[in-house]
């Protein structure tokens, strides 16, 4: 099956109020071309589920977000994400905050189609106080231990970015860490993958070992080739983080700089225009 599609077709499948999982980690291998396409759309009221980076910051800054489900939001080299901070400190977005490990457990529960998975993580901390809907569960075995029942983080859609993919929706990561991109896909009803390059299935073996084939085609509904699609987050070995651009983005949290940043980089008709403007800096 040929699952190749376009950024605009992917975003046309998303709806206001959806819960959207975004793969990657911090400012690393984020599906930024899809994030930018959402910025160009009328979508609003989104709930984001993310090991957050500039995906969360940009969508918050653009007023697309109602709620963020997160364990952290960071730009890595800039530890605190300024746009997310601003959204939080002005009370513009609701926060559902989990421990990082609980977060992957919630994705796993959704992937397994179970309502929750038990874990010790969260006990004693304010995770339970800040999320009063969280419940604990008692072991039915002799130990009787009480554990947190981490609820499934069910996603309406998952967005991920890989180094390589084929037209059938198989995906390959070539960097050091797969993060949790397969779990996002397995936790979601609709799954969309961008990649640096679409290659022939037979060529996967030339670019990496069998262990790099993290995403298989039953996890994916649509695949889009977006060279530079993770910019300005890192996407090794294809490219590192664009630290200069990230700094410019972070500084644009100042109201007097935001408008110029928005017009220069975000008020563009297409991802191709964005890549051109970035290249011409």
């Amino acid at each position: 099956m040929d699952k190749r599609t376009t950024l605009s077709e992917v975003v046309s499948e998303l709806r206001d109020g959806m819960t959207i999982g975004i793969g990657g980690w911090g400012s690393r291998r984020k599906p930024m071309a899809l994030v930018r396409e959402i910025l160009r759309s009328d979508l609003e009221d989104l709930t984001l589920v993310s090991y957050g980076g500039p995906d969360v910051g940009l969508l918050c800054a653009a007023g697309k977000v109602r709620k963020v489900v997160f364990g952290f939001v960071s730009l890595d080299s800039i530890p605190l994400e300024p746009h997310f901070r601003k959204a939080r400190q002005t009370g513009r977005v609701d926060a559902v905050e989990y421990d990082e490990g609980m977060f992957q457990w919630g994705l796993r529960a959704a992937a397994h189609r179970v309502p929750f998975l038990p874990t010790r993580a969260g006990l004693g901390s304010d995770v339970l106080k800040l999320n009063p809907e969280l419940r604990t569960v008692r072991s039915p075995y002799a130990d009787g231990e009480e554990l947190v029942a981490m609820p499934a983080l069910e996603l309406d859609a998952a967005l991920i970015h890989m180094n390589r993919a084929d037209q059938h929706g198989n995906g390959q990561f070539l960097g050091p860490d797969p993060y949790f991109d397969n779990l996002y896909c397995m936790a979601a009803k609709r799954r969309f993958m961008t990649c640096e390059k679409i290659i022939d299935t037979a060529d996967f073996a030339k670019s990496g070992s069998i262990h790099t084939l993290l995403i298989n085609r039953l996890m994916v509904d649509g695949v889009v080739e977006t060279p530079g699609g993770a910019h300005f987050t890192e996407c090794p070995p294809d490219y590192g983080r664009d630290e200069a651009f990230q700094k410019e983005y972070a500084q644009a949290v100042k109201p007097e700089l935001w408008e110029a940043f928005r017009q220069r980089y975000l008020e563009l008709d297409s991802e191709a225009d964005y890549q051109r403007v970035v290249a011409e800096r």
Partner: protein, 253 residues
């Protein structure tokens, strides 16, 4: 004096927090903890497992910032998914920072003010709740003062001893706050009520300095020793591990 700086003393005090850990994954968050962990591995805890800060376990303990492939020999793969496996199994000792910490070792790195609309949004929970309930945790605090050592933290991210006590011995059986190292001294919780105690003060720091910079009542033993000063060999090793003097930037004289 052996020419040891405050940064050297802090690095070795951090290393001492890992003494006895053996074949454990050590996750030092930040410059001084990274230096201390590498020092420990190179001197008295050779079996520690250390990462490159990304996803490789390193066979060696290279200098901070090293890009020399000969010094960066991987001995294993530890992407985030495996970090969670490791930490939930308990075979890990983390040293985190704390924007706020209280007398029982509750830590806050999430936000200041009302979590619904914080005055200052910080990192978030990160892994602190899971870390503290699953395996030994220590803290490194480079800016000891009453705004960090507070009577009550605004959000409990890392679990302290009062919260662990409420959970009961069974649920909290893996909870341990091993050590708190600051730029002024070393602290632990080896007291009947599990309140923070002064273990040692760094040379040049008085107990009064520590007490005056702490926003809660510390347990102060009758005799408080000075933190040990590294010898010439140890200072040489610290200089090898920190050729750019990054530690001194975090802990000025």
């Amino acid at each position: 004096m052996s020419g040891a700086t405050r940064a050297h003393i802090c690095a070795v005090a951090i290393a001492e927090a890992f003494r006895g850990d053996g074949e454990m994954l050590v996750s030092p968050i930040g410059t001084l903890p990274a230096l201390g962990a590498r020092f420990a591995k190179r001197s008295f805890e050779p079996d520690l497992l250390l990462t490159d800060g990304v996803s490789q376990l390193l066979a060696s303990a290279p200098p901070l910032g090293s890009t020399d492939a000969a010094e960066l020999v991987p001995e294993g793969w530890l992407p985030y998914r495996e970090v969670f496996e490791m930490l939930w199994s308990g075979r890990r000792h983390v040293m985190m920072g704390a924007t706020q910490i209280d007398v029982f070792g509750n830590q806050n790195i999430a936000c200041i003010g009302d979590p619904k609309k914080p005055t200052v949004q910080l990192l978030g929970m990160r892994g602190a709740p899971g870390n503290t309930i699953n395996h030994p945790t220590s803290y490194w605090i480079p800016n000891h003062g009453p705004r960090v050592f507070v009577p009550d933290v605004d959000v409990v991210t890392g679990v302290g001893y009062d919260r662990a006590g409420e959970l009961g011995d069974h649920s909290a059986r893996f909870h341990e706050i091993r050590r708190v190292v600051s730029n002024l001294g070393v602290f632990d919780f080896e007291t009947p009520e599990r309140r923070m105690r002064v273990v040692s003060v760094h040379p040049g720091v008085s107990v009064d300095d520590v007490v005056g910079n702490t926003g809660f009542e510390l347990v102060v033993p009758d005799a408080v020793p000075e933190t040990r000063v590294p010898n010439a060999d140890e200072i040489a090793l610290l200089k090898t591990l920190d050729p750019d003097g990054l530690a001194a930037r975090e802990v000025p004289e």
